[in-house]
Every structure is written in structure tokens, then in C-alpha cells.
């Protein structure tokens, strides 16, 4: 059934008995044209674009747990395209454009909310770095504004302007940035893909690859062997593990990033604010919770939970920036496993093994990338050629030295 106010009203009269599963909980078939490993945002978006744009419908998405159980359902939901480097900016802007039409495209309200993001700066050097970034955005046709202290103050008056250790001097604003409801993105893509015949198979973990020489021709799973000429990995935090099943070592480390949500309160914070002198960023969800986070825990980990020092560090950043949140309570905290690449930017590419495609290295920023990544990955799988907008996101850039290191941190994944 189409989702609309009319169907909702109709259902209200009939006790909502007519609704059907949002996606089919499929049983795996022995063979497909494309197998996608990973039922997170990227895997499901890829399936949707393959089926609905590139005309490939014999597709399975294999998810080891429930869809959205990974980072897609754990992130802090910020979407933006305020990147510096050409190889990244155009890609994230493509994603942003897709976000802007997503709900109508999927017939699912993912609550894409463009309430803006302001990245604060606290020094002249930081200001110039943001100017460089903002100017790069403008050269890409992306909206960007450099705010001074008074403009920031008018927008987010509750920051500590008068007693701060690192006074706010201004900010880089992208008005079109914002947030989206992460679970709804997963469900919306699942629904749209499933409608076109994609099999979404949950509780189906890939445990090995079926090889024909170098080529990858299928997967072993906890629900049996499944074959396909094209196999696409979109397993985010598990990228190194799954790649290892095929004997590949990726330029990726897995790290834990925590996220935090407060009890729901009436609207306090309009858009997304990031602190430039501490590890803290925050937005407020439509339900009223302050959704915030900070730095990664710093050690390699596959455990989806973090530790107390970072909890404290994030809270300290929050209190330094906006001391009005002192009596608001943290409700829940959790962790997700980040596929941190060596330059902090992602990979959408063929793997060295024929038949195996890679989508990985999203770090803590892959939620915003979901539509763009799905689209470009589907393009790569369907056409065998990278989408021009994702042409810089190649695996061999590390070997060739064409890095996309936004922060200039070098090959130390926990610093990106």
C-alpha cells in the first residue's frame, strides 16, 4: 500500500489491518545476478538503485542480523556536503541532492530535515581553513556561509560566548545540511527495493566466498551457499573481516565510535552544531532528545560499545560549549564499529578479485553518503565502470598516492 495521509486515514477506519510487511522477509534462493553483503544503509540503497534505476532485479541483500543493526541504526544522523576536497565534495553533494528528493522517491518519510550545520571556529587559522573549505564548496555549487561571532550568536545564543576556554569566533554554515531519521532510511530503501523484487534476507551471515580461480562466484552463508556472478560488499565496520574471508587485506582499521542521546526535552537546539575546540557535536531529534557525540575511543575494536573516558570527554566538550545542558540527562549511549580508512575517505571500487566489489571505509561519515553511495555503487556493479562522481574513491589511490585526506592526518585511521 502506498503511504499517504489518505491510506493512513483509510487504515485508521479499518484498524490498520491492511498494512503489509514493509519489506518481504525473504528466504534465500540458490542464485542471483547480484548478491549484496550487508543490510545497512549502503547495501539496501545499492539494492534499490540496482532494481529501480539500473534494471537489475535478481538481487539479494544478505544481512547477518536484522537490517539496520549496524551503523545505519546507530549513527547520529547528520547529513551534509561541506567537504573540502574535490574528490569528496562532488560525491557528497550528489548524495545531498538525492536526500532532497528521497522521500518522494521511496514513498517513505525519512524525516530529512535541512536545519543546517554550523562548524564553529575558535582561531584565525581555523577560520582561514574553513574559508578554504567553504570557498571550495561554493566552487562546487554547494551552499556555504562564513559567519562571524555575532552571526553565530544570533543563531545559537545558548553557546558559552562569555566565559569559554576557547572563545567562539565564528562558524562555517551549510544551511542545506541537517539530519534524517536513520531507521526510516533503512526501512524506506528496503521497502523500495523489496517492491521491485529484491530479496532481503535477514539472519543470514556470509561466512566464506565461493571461488573459481581468482574470481568470486558465490558466498557461503549461515543459510546455505548462494551464487552470483557479482558480489558486492557493503559491511561497513566489518569490512576487514569479510574481506579477509576472500583473502584480502584492506587499508582499513575498525574503531569504535560512541553516540549519546539525552532524555527528550522541548526544542532547544535548532540545527547541528559542532565544536571546533573539543570533541563534541549535537543536534536535537524531532522527538526531543539531544543526539550528540565526539571522538572515537581510539583503540581498534569490534565490540559495539565504548568506554568511560570518551563518555566524559564528550560530556566535557558539551558543557564547555553549551553549559545549559548540565541538568539535561544522558539517556542512552552505545557504540558502533567504524571502518576507518587510511585517509579518512571511502572506497567504492572493484576489488582485485573478479566479481567482488567493494564499498567500505566510511569512517564516521557514511550515513550522509547512503543515497550517493548506493547510487554510485549500483552504477559500478551494473556498468562495470565507476560513476564519474565517485571516480576518486578508488582502492588504488593509496598505492598511487592520490589520497583524499580532508584533515591532513595521514595514514593513522584513529585521527581522521
Amino acid at each position: 500500500m502506498r503511504r499517504s495521509i489518505f491510506s493512513l486515514a483509510l487504515n485508521a477506519l479499518t484498524g490498520h489491518r491492511l498494512w503489509r510487511p514493509t519489506w518481504r522477509d525473504a528466504v534465500p534462493k540458490p542464485e542471483y545476478d547480484v548478491i549484496i553483503i550487508g543490510g545497512g544503509g549502503h547495501g539496501l540503497a545499492t539494492a534499490h538503485y540496482l532494481a529501480n534505476v539500473f534494471g537489475i532485479q535478481r538481487v539479494a541483500v544478505l544481512e547477518k542480523s536484522w537490517i539496520g543493526s549496524g551503523n545505519a541504526g546507530r549513527n547520529t544522523t547528520i547529513i551534509r556536503s561541506n567537504y573540502l576536497l574535490p574528490g569528496n565534495n562532488a560525491f557528497y553533494e550528489l548524495s545531498m541532492k538525492l536526500w532532497e528528493g528521497l522521500e518522494q522517491e521511496l514513498n517513505y518519510n525519512a524525516m530529512v530535515s535541512q536545519r543546517g550545520i554550523v562548524n564553529l571556529y575558535h582561531s584565525d587559522a581555523q577560520r582561514d581553513a574553513y574559508a578554504r573549505r567553504g570557498n571550495s564548496m561554493r566552487l562546487h555549487g554547494v551552499d556555504a556561509e562564513l559567519l562571524d561571532r555575532d552571526q553565530v550568536r544570533a543563531m545559537v545564543p545558548f553557546l558559552d560566548f562569555d566565559n569559554a576556554r576557547f572563545p567562539v569566533k565564528g562558524g562555517l554554515l551549510q544551511r542545506r545540511a541537517g539530519t534524517a531519521r536513520h531507521d526510516a532510511v533503512v526501512w524506506g530503501y528496503a521497502a523500495a527495493a523489496s517492491r521491485r523484487g529484491v530479496d532481503i534476507v535477514q539472519n543470514c551471515e556470509v561466512t566464506g566466498f565461493i571461488r573459481n580461480g581468482d574470481a568470486v562466484v558465490g558466498v557461503e552463508t549461515t543459510r546455505g551457499s548462494i551464487r552470483a556472478p557479482k558480489i558486492a560488499m557493503a559491511v561497513a565496520g566489518n569490512s576487514s573481516r569479510v574481506a579477509a574471508l576472500a583473502g584480502l587485506r584492506l587499508p582499513i582499521e575498525s574503531h569504535v565510535l560512541q553516540a549519546f542521546v539525552s532524555e527528550a526535552v522541548k526544542p532547544l537546539i535548532p540545527g547541528v552544531v559542532t565544536f571546533g575546540a573539543g570533541h563534541f557535536y549535537v543536534s536535537q531529534s524531532d522527538k526531543g532528545g539531544l543526539v550528540f557525540g565526539g571522538d572515537i575511543d581510539g583503540y581498534n575494536s569490534y565490540a559495539q560499545r565504548g568506554n568511560l573516558p570518551v563518555v566524559e570527554d564528550v560530556a566535557e566538550g558539551g558543557m564547555a560549549l553549551m553549559p545549559m545542558i548540565g541538568r539535561i540527562r544522558l539517556l542512552r549511549s552505545w557504540g558502533g564499529i567504524m571502518d576507518m580508512s587510511m585517509d579518512g575517505s571511502p572506497i567504492i571500487d572493484r576489488s582485485p578479485l573478479p566479481g567482488l566489489y567493494l564499498n567500505a571505509g566510511w569512517c564516521y561519515g557514511g550515513f550522509k553518503a547512503i543515497p550517493g553511495s548506493g547510487f554510485c555503487f549500483a552504477h559500478l556493479i551494473a556498468k562495470g565502470e565507476p560513476h564519474p562522481t565517485a571516480a576518486a574513491l578508488r582502492l588504488d589511490r593509496f598505492e598511487r598516492g592520490y589520497l583524499l585526506d580532508e584533515k591532513g592526518q595521514g595514514a593513522q585511521p584513529n585521527l581522521h
Partner: protein, 980 residues
């Protein structure tokens, strides 16, 4: 509901009446009351509205699991939204207000949502508000945001203080009920360092809430004696009002102590709350169990209360929550409530026991007190508006009746409080016999689980468990457990009552009903995690403490799976919500991070310096003088003083690393891309360090003070990272080398003394101690000068003849003062920046981690005679690409124009699109010598384009400026001034 205070009993202090207000109305309670008990005693039943439907709600529990009774506590900057009235200890003058209602709690317009509830089902927003697309941000979302979010944050800076503290113990006992007290006694008596923490202000747990007997004493008295004994034991720490809220790696437990929440304002210099990091070798989790509600129509009406909570109000707080009670139970537990109500003299309208076979004792009790007993019956609905008037029941024969009452006590069985056992990933296990999840075998290291939390509900078992585990944790023999009175707790689970009328709430606070669960199942959200996310079950401020299992059990039934297979969602820290201020502790405002001051900071301040942040350091930015109108004027004066006379700049913030040992020179050769082993003693050399990936990491000068002794200086920004890097090289890559590194940044005060008069000034200063003229360019010397050890280097960042003089930090301030007395003009980071740009020296904006040595014009420094970190990867095609932007100088074509960092280069006339961008401006400064702005930038093929005109495109600021590309060295390219 019409609660009242019982004439006697309870753990309240009737000699200490306390006045408080709720929604502006004055009330009175006693010391020992919670806000909930005091309100109930005053007959207030309606205390809150629910999240979505704005349903009237009353108190359901007596603890931190409370889903309904949330209030805004205190006022002004201290306002605390969503505060559970059941956990607030009242104090004189307490002010609380209801929330999420308009215009008043009694009449709340938002309640119309309830009429629209057929539309506002779970996940309704995913299905609508999509058209027209532009309406979401402008119309729909603002309305949703306004409606959501229960209470209001203060919106003002939190005025209170918070602290953090560490504690270390052998045994941490979590929960001070019978099991916890027993565990603490057993551990404490053995002499082990024991901490007993309980979130309540009164130890005893259920012993205070029930009429139980231990060793022929009232349970509460036994608890008080146990606490007295624990207080007398030297190594036992009692922590009341302390919630252990998280378990972390390394046997770390996080706890929150509410130091002053029971006072109107914290006493002077006292924190409001204290965050404890407790390091415990062993822990005993004795967190008890939580009674679960039953799911029937209208189960949320004020007056419907947990049967165990009714007992707590009767026995501990001496409050009858109603005048005419009905008890609805699925087990023996409800009968305790019956007995306690009888004891308190509250009329009992009926007992509805869902079981058919009712124990003889119970029947006899009912008969003896003339209580109507319905066996095999269920409650199917409730009547009343904002308060309960009657319940509807269906008896064993299927007949329905209405029973007037203003209190319905509901006993649905107990859920062990497993949360803390799962924080490190352990999965709870289903126990059919108690119809609940208990902690599974994969417990956090060192943890054992005791009593009701382990599913052992009976008092005797709780005590025995506690003694046994407390002793086991300390390797001692458990004390003998005292005799206990009878205590039966069997229950038959009843997950949903068929054929009920009205909304059946599963999650009270979030208004999730059984129909929402069914809708979720129908729409395929069948995993408990999907159920949670789709319906918001368990996501409210109580984190599903009362709701989750009921919801999961309904889902299990709907999908034909067992509860064990359906599983439960993961419990996440914190166990109860924790104020963000407490997690931050004192680290806010100016104390967010340490402020590092140089030794001569005070002198610079005296000289009127304006300071700027450089990481954690404060550095003098410039020294304005009276009559100067702006920073530029001051900076220009400072630059002129250096170039024409002599100036002094405090450069103590540069990182300094002492490197010593036979292999010190090898370490330097490895770390720097240029050669250092050939450096002569008494000489210094400029060095560039690459990262492993071939990009520039840092630069600085390193001097050789002895055959095996070097001192390295780093940039201020990278001091720590370079130190880390050297340690990595030493310890990981070359552990066989004999070389030591120590950071000495803090030990030395260092000043650049620059300008044509620098040598003369220093000679004046040092007198006979050192022959300054004898120090060659790039020379280094160490000598004694009076009491001080001095290091003198002849280095220049400004292009002038210049020295860096370092003395032990304690002499720094005096030295700077002395040098200024001798006529040097102090200059700050701005003038430093101007002069380095004039000389084309790279700094932070160029050393941004994205540039290669070649980009910065330093490519030739990369030695071909030795290996060094970064050599191999610096050879990658992308790093050698001739099109990479490289360092150039810029002058505005219109010399009157200002230049700024951050603009991008375009060819004049080229369209402003990224494909045409050819690099960017890194640093800009006004050059007093040249009389116009100059800048450095990175431009594609830059070095071969000197003389070209380019456009600096800066749409974010003042638009576009034409510049002339030139050599990055603007001043004295021959370097003759170095020797002036």
C-alpha cells in the same frame, strides 16, 4: 485517587514537616518522603501527561523505573525536566511542576491527540507528511518538534558544581536490599575493602517496603542494624544516593552520587553530584527486580499502581494511595498487598486473581476480612477520567462486573534487574519458572549476581545468596543466614488480557499500546530491535524497565515464537539517566582544558599583551601601546622594531625534546628527511620530518650539544605528536637502539632575540659569560651564566640576525624583563607571522598535513644518501605529480587590497567552478616593509608561474582579488640581513 497519610508507622520523620509545591499549589510532606509519596499523601493522583496522547497519568511505581510521574523539578537555571517524582527526596521549599501539558495538567488541549489515535499509530509519521515536499521543514516538522519532548530544559547555564572521583575496592556491592546488605556484611567482615552503593537514600531495598521478618525482627530493623554494623567496619564505604549506572572494560564501574539533590541548593563549595569511577576487583550485583504491569484496557489511568509500589507506600512512607482498593494479581505477590492494605485499614473492594487454584491461606484471608475474591478472573477495563472510579472485570465464568474503587494494585510478576550484567555484551537468559530474564553466564569479569536480580525472589534465598557471594568474593566462609519469615512469590505470567476495552498500554510513557505492537508485527518489524525502533517501545526515560518484557512477550505471541527466542533488546548505559553536567564534572568554562602559560607570561601581561590561544597555550599575540588604534598598527610597529633595531618574542611554547645516547644521531637520521648524523657539535640544522605516508609532519631546528646529545625543537602545534612519533620509532621500530628522548618543553623558557642590534644586546646582557660574536650562524652553545645554564642558538625565523636564548623556566620571566630593559621591543605571534611570511618560511597553514616537502619548496632536503621515515611512500606518483600545488608568494595587483587566507586561485576570466581551481591562499599578512599585503599560497605549477596574474576567488568574504604570483621570499632573498 484519594490517597492519605496513615496515622502511624513508616520510615518518615513526622517531627520534620517539609513544605513544597506542585504546579504552584502548596503541600506538606515529611523528611523521608519522596515527592511521589508526599503527593499521594496529599491526595494528588494526577501528576503528569503522557508523551503522545497526553493521557492523564499518576504514580505507578516507587522507584527509578517510574514511567509516568515525571515532573519539572526546581525553577530557573536549576530546572530539571523529566524528573521522576518517585526518586526525588523532598526538601523544604521544593518546587515541582507538571510538564508537557497546556494550558494545565487538569485540562490539556493535547489530549485531543487521543481522539486522533487511530491515525497516530506507531510509525505514522513515516507514512505521511511527504507532500508537498517543502512543507516538512516549514510546517509539519516544527509542529512535531513542538509537540514532542516532554519537559523543558532550563535554557540557562547550570549554576551548580560537579565533581569526579575515583574509588578502588575489593568488592563493590550494587544494591542495598537484603542480598546486597548480606553480601556487604560478608565481604566487610572479612576486612576486604568493600563499597556498598544504592540509589536510594535509605538502605534496605524491599525490606523497607515489605513487612518481612529476619531473625524475628522486622526486616527494616534488621536492615538498619546491618547498616550500622557496616558503618562500623573500617574498610567498608557506604554510598547511599549512589547509582551504579555503567559497567566498562577493566572492571570499571561508573556511579553517580547525588550529593546535594536532596537540598534546595548545594551548600557552598559542595558539588551537586559526583561522578565516581570505581575500580572493583569483584562485584556483587544485587539490583533486585522490578514488578511488571499487566496489559489491559485503561491500565494507565491514575490510580492503577504496581502492587509492590502500593506496599512501599503503605509500609515505608505510611501513605495509603487510595481509599478503596482492588488488587489484580497473577501470583502470590498481590496477596502481600492485600495483607498490607488490611493492616493499614484500607478498604478492599475486590481481589482479582487470574489463577484458578488459589491457596487456602489466601482464600481464608479474604474470607476473614469479607473481601470479594474473584479467582480465574481478569481486569478488562477501567473507568474514570483523570482518576480511577471503577474497574471492569471478567470473572471465571465470563461474566462482567464493575467494581468501584479508586486504587487498583497490579501484580504481574517480577523482572530481574539485569541491565548492568549486560553492559559488556552478556545476553540475559530466559527462565520460564519465574517468567523473566536473568543474567546469562557471560557476566562482566569479576561480577556475581545475587538475590532477586538472579531470579531468586524469596527473602531467605536473597540473604543466603548475598552471604555466599560476599564471602566468595573475599575467599572467606559465609556467615550463617538468619531465619526469615514466610515469603512466597510464585506467579503465572499473563502477557495480555484478551477481550479488554480501551487502550492497553505496554510502554506508558511513550504511549505504546498492544495494537502498536501488533501493527509492528504486521508491517514486518518483528525483531525486538525493529519493534523498539518502529514503535519507540522502551526508548522513554525509563528505558523500558516496566515495558520491554511485556512488549517482547506480545511480539513473541504474535509471531508464534517463544519469548526466549524472541529475545530482548540490549541494555545500554546509563542504567538511569545521568545529568550531562555530572559526566563533565568541573571541566567547563575556563576549566574545560588546562591553560598553559609560559614562564614569562606574567611579564607579557604586564606589558599589556593581547593573548591568543595556541592549542592549550596562551601566547602574546601583540603588545598594544597607548595611542595605537588597532592591532595592525601595533604589529607594524613591532615588525619595524625588529627589522630596524631589536625585538624579543617568547617562543617557549615550541616543543623541545632532549635526545641522548649513542644512537641519537641514527634516530634523527631516521626521523628527519635530511641528514643529521653529520651535524657538528655546537651546530644546529633546520630539519623536515615526514610522516610514514610521505607528507610533511613537522619542521624545526635541532642542535647538537654533544657527541651523543641533541636538542630538537618542534612547532608548538605538533610538540606532542612529534614526541609520540619519536617514541614510536625508538620503541617499536628500533628497540635495539640506545637512545632516550624526553620532552623538555616545560623546563626551558626560550626567547627569540631578533634584529640588527641583537648581538650587541646579548653581549651586554651576558657580559663575560659568553662571546656572542663568536657564535656563527646556525651555531649552538651551552654555558653557565651566574646561576643559570644557558643555551644560545643563532637561528632566524624573521630573516634578521637573530638568536634564540633558553634558560631554565624559573629564570624565564626575569630574563625577558632584563632583555626588554636593555631596549628590546617585545613582539607577539602576529609580528612573528608577518616576518616569516615576508621570508617565505612555512608554518601551520602550509604544514597542514596535506603537503609534501616538494610542495613547500623543500624537496631538495630529502636525502638520497640514507633511509628515512616517509621516503618510500613519498615516491608515490600522486605525491610527485608535477601538477601539485606548490608554494608561491602573492602580491595584490591593486596594492591597496587586503589579502586573506582561504581563497582559491582561478585564472582571470575563468568560470568559478572547481575544475578551474588551481590551489589556495594559505597565509596573508601586511608587510610594513613593502607597504602592502602579501601572502603565501599553494598553486599548481606555482614555481614556474612567477609573474603571472591570478584571481583569488573568495566568495565567502569580500569576493575576488587579482594577485601577482611571485617568489615566496619577499625580503632579502640573498639573506644578507642574517649577518647584519
Amino acid at each position: 485517587m484519594s490517597g492519605y497519610r496513615l496515622p502511624g508507622g513508616g520510615a518518615i520523620d513526622r517531627t520534620r514537616p517539609l513544605g513544597f509545591s506542585f504546579d504552584g499549589r502548596p503541600f506538606q510532606g515529611y523528611a523521608g518522603d519522596t515527592l511521589a509519596s508526599a503527593l499521594l499523601a496529599e491526595g494528588v493522583g494526577l501528576v503528569a501527561r503522557s508523551f503522545k496522547y497526553h493521557r492523564p497519568r499518576g504514580v505507578v511505581t516507587a522507584g527509578s523505573e517510574e514511567p509516568n510521574a515525571l515532573v519539572e523539578l526546581r525553577t530557573g537555571a536549576r530546572r530539571e525536566p523529566n524528573t521522576k517524582a518517585t526518586t526525588v527526596e523532598i526538601y523544604d521549599g521544593l518546587k515541582a511542576a507538571s510538564q508537557n501539558r497546556w494550558p494545565s495538567l487538569g485540562f490539556d488541549v493535547g489530549a485531543v491527540n487521543s481522539l486522533l489515535s487511530p491515525v497516530f499509530v506507531a510509525g505514522f509519521y513515516y507514512k505521511t507528511f511527504m507532500w508537498p515536499a517543502a512543507f516538512w521543514e516549514k510546517v509539519y516538522e516544527p509542529a512535531i518538534r513542538k509537540a514532542a519532548g516532554l519537559g523543558r530544559g532550563a535554557g540557562l547555564p547550570d549554576p551548580d558544581l560537579y565533581e569526579k572521583a575515583n574509588a578502588f575496592c575489593d568488592v563493590l556491592v550494587i544494591g542495598g536490599g537484603p542480598a546486597g546488605l548480606a553480601a556487604a556484611l560478608a565481604a566487610g567482615r572479612s576486612g576486604a575493602r568493600t563499597i556498598l552503593a544504592d540509589e536510594d537514600f535509605l538502605f534496605g531495598g524491599r525490606l523497607n517496603a515489605e513487612r518481612l521478618e529476619i531473625a524475628e525482627k522486622a526486616g527494616a530493623d534488621w536492615a538498619a542494624e546491618a547498616v550500622a554494623e557496616l558503618a562500623s567496619l573500617p574498610h567498608v564505604t557506604l554510598m547511599p544516593r549512589t547509582t551504579v549506572f555503567g559497567v566498562y572494560d577493566g572492571e570499571t564501574y561508573a556511579a553517580l552520587e547525588r550529593v546535594a539533590d536532596h537540598l534546595a541548593v548545594p551548600p557552598p563549595h559542595q558539588p551537586r553530584q559526583r561522578l565516581w569511577r570505581i575500580q572493583a576487583r569483584q562485584s556483587v550485583l544485587a539490583a533486585g527486580a522490578i514488578e511488571r504491569p499487566l496489559v489491559f484496557g485503561g491500565n494507565d489511568r491514575p490510580g492503577v499502581m504496581s502492587a509492590a509500589a502500593v506496599r512501599a507506600y503503605l509500609n515505608r512512607f505510611a501513605v495509603a494511595p487510595g481509599r478503596r482498593a482492588a488488587v489484580f494479581t497473577t501470583g502470590d505477590d498481590g496477596w502481600k498487598t492485600v495483607a498490607d492494605l488490611i493492616e493499614a485499614g484500607v478498604e478492599i473492594a475486590a481481589v482479582i486473581d487470574a489463577r484458578t487454584g488459589i491457596a487456602h491461606d489466601h482464600e481464608a484471608l479474604a474470607a476473614a476480612h469479607d473481601i470479594r475474591l474473584f479467582a480465574g478472573a481478569v481486569v478488562t477495563g477501567t473507568r474514570g477520567g483523570r482518576a480511577l472510579h471503577a474497574v471492569q472485570i471478567r470473572d471465571a465464568g465470563g461474566g462482567t462486573r464493575t467494581i468501584a474503587c479508586d486504587l487498583l494494585a497490579v501484580a504481574g510478576g517480577w523482572n530481574p534487574n539485569v541491565a548492568l550484567s549486560t553492559h559488556l555484551g552478556g545476553k540475559p537468559e530466559w527462565r520460564a519458572d519465574i517468567a523473566g530474564f536473568v543474567p546469562g553466564p557471560a557476566l562482566p569479569p569479576g561480577m556475581a549476581v545475587a538475590g532477586a536480580c538472579a531470579g531468586r525472589m524469596n527473602l531467605g534465598d536473597c540473604l543466603a545468596d548475598g552471604f555466599r557471594l560476599g564471602a566468595a568474593a573475599t575467599g572467606t566462609t559465609p556467615p550463617e543466614a538468619p531465619e526469615t519469615g514466610p515469603d512466597a512469590t510464585t506467579a503465572t505470567p499473563l502477557w495480555r488480557i484478551a477481550g479488554t476495552r480501551g487502550k492497553c498500554f505496554v510502554d506508558f510513557q511513550h504511549d505504546v499500546t498492544d495494537r502498536d505492537v501488533a501493527l509492528a508485527a504486521r508491517e514486518g518489524f518483528r525483531s525486538v530491535e525493529h519493534l523498539k525502533r518502529y514503535t519507540t517501545l522502551g526508548m522513554a526515560t525509563d528505558q523500558g524497565k516496566t515495558a520491554n518484557l511485556n512488549g517482547h512477550a506480545l511480539m513473541a505471541a504474535l509471531t508464534g515464537r517463544g519469548i526466549a527466542e524472541t529475545g530482548t533488546t540490549r541494555f545500554r548505559p546509563p542504567y538511569v539517566p545521568v545529568a550531562i553536567g555530572a559526566l563533565a564534572g568541573p571541566h567547563r568554562g575556563p576549566d574545560f582544558k588546562p591553560t598553559r602559560l609560559t614562564a614569562a607570561h606574567g611579564f607579557s601581561a604586564e606589558m599589556g599583551a593581547v593573548f591568543t590561544e595556541a592549542g592549550q597555550w596562551l601566547r602574546p599575540q601583540y603588545y598594544p601601546r597607548p595611542g595605537e588604534s588597532d592591532w595592525l598598527e601595533s604589529v607594524t610597529r613591532e615588525v619595524k622594531a625588529v627589522r630596524g633595531d631589536v625585538g624579543i618574542c617568547d617562543v617557549s611554547t615550541l616543543g623541545r625534546i632532549e635526545i641522548q645516547g649513542p644512537d641519537a644521531r641514527h634516530l634523527l637520521d631516521l626521523a628527519y628527511c635530511n641528514m643529521f648524523s653529520t651535524l657538528a657539535v655546537g651546530r644546529a640544522r633546520y630539519g623536515v620530518m615526514l610522516r610514514e605516508d610521505g607528507f610533511v609532519m613537522d619542521d624545526g631546528t635541532t642542535a647538537r650539544l654533544g657527541p651523543e646529545h641533541f636538542v630538537m625543537s618542534t612547532t608548538t602545534a605538533n610538540a606532542a605528536r612529534v614526541m609520540q612519533h619519536l617514541d614510536f620509532l625508538r620503541q617499536v621500530l628500533r628497540p635495539e637502539w640506545d637512545v632516550q628522548c624526553a620532552s623538555a618543553t616545560e623546563h626551558w623558557a626560550m626567547f627569540a632575540v631578533a634584529g640588527p642590534r641583537s648581538r650587541a644586546l646579548l653581549q651586554d646582557l651576558l657580559g663575560d659569560a659568553f662571546d656572542v660574536a663568536g657564535l656563527p650562524h646556525m651555531g649552538a652553545a651551552e654555558f653557565r651564566w651566574g646561576r643559570a645554564r644557558v643555551r644560545l642558538f643563532r637561528l632566524s625565523f624573521s630573516g634578521e640576525r637573530a638568536y634564540e636564548i633558553a634558560v631554565p623556566a624559573r629564570f624565564g620571566q626575569a630574563l625577558m624583563r632584563r632583555i626588554c630593559d636593555l631596549g628590546a621591543t617585545p613582539y607577539g605571534t602576529e609580528a612573528l607571522g608577518v616576518m616569516r611570511i615576508e621570508k617565505g618560511h612555512v608554518s601551520g597553514p602550509e604544514l597542514n598535513g596535506q603537503t609534501t616537502a616538494a610542495d613547500l619548496g623543500l624537496g631538495r632536503m630529502m636525502s638520497k644518501k640514507k633511509d628515512f621515515i616517509g621516503r618510500v611512500l613519498a615516491g608515490r606518483p600522486g605525491l610527485c605529480d608535477p601538477a601539485r600545488p606548490a608554494l608561491v608568494g602573492l602580491k595584490p595587483v591593486d596594492r591597496g587590497r587586503r589579502l586573506r587566507g582561504g581563497g582559491h586561485f582561478l585564472r582571470p576570466g575563468a568560470a568559478p567552478v572547481i575544475a578551474n581551481a588551481e590551489g589556495h591562499v594559505t597565509s596573508a599578512a601586511y608587510s610594513p616593509g613593502l607597504g602592502h599585503w602579501i601572502a603565501l599560497g599553494l598553486l599548481a605549477h606555482g614555481p614556474s608561474r612567477h609573474g603571472e596574474t591570478m584571481l583569488v576567488h573568495d566568495p565567502l568574504r569580500d569576493g575576488d582579488t587579482l594577485v601577482e604570483i611571485c617568489d615566496p621570499v619577499f625580503l632579502d632573498p640573498e639573506g644578507s640581513r642574517l649577518h647584519a
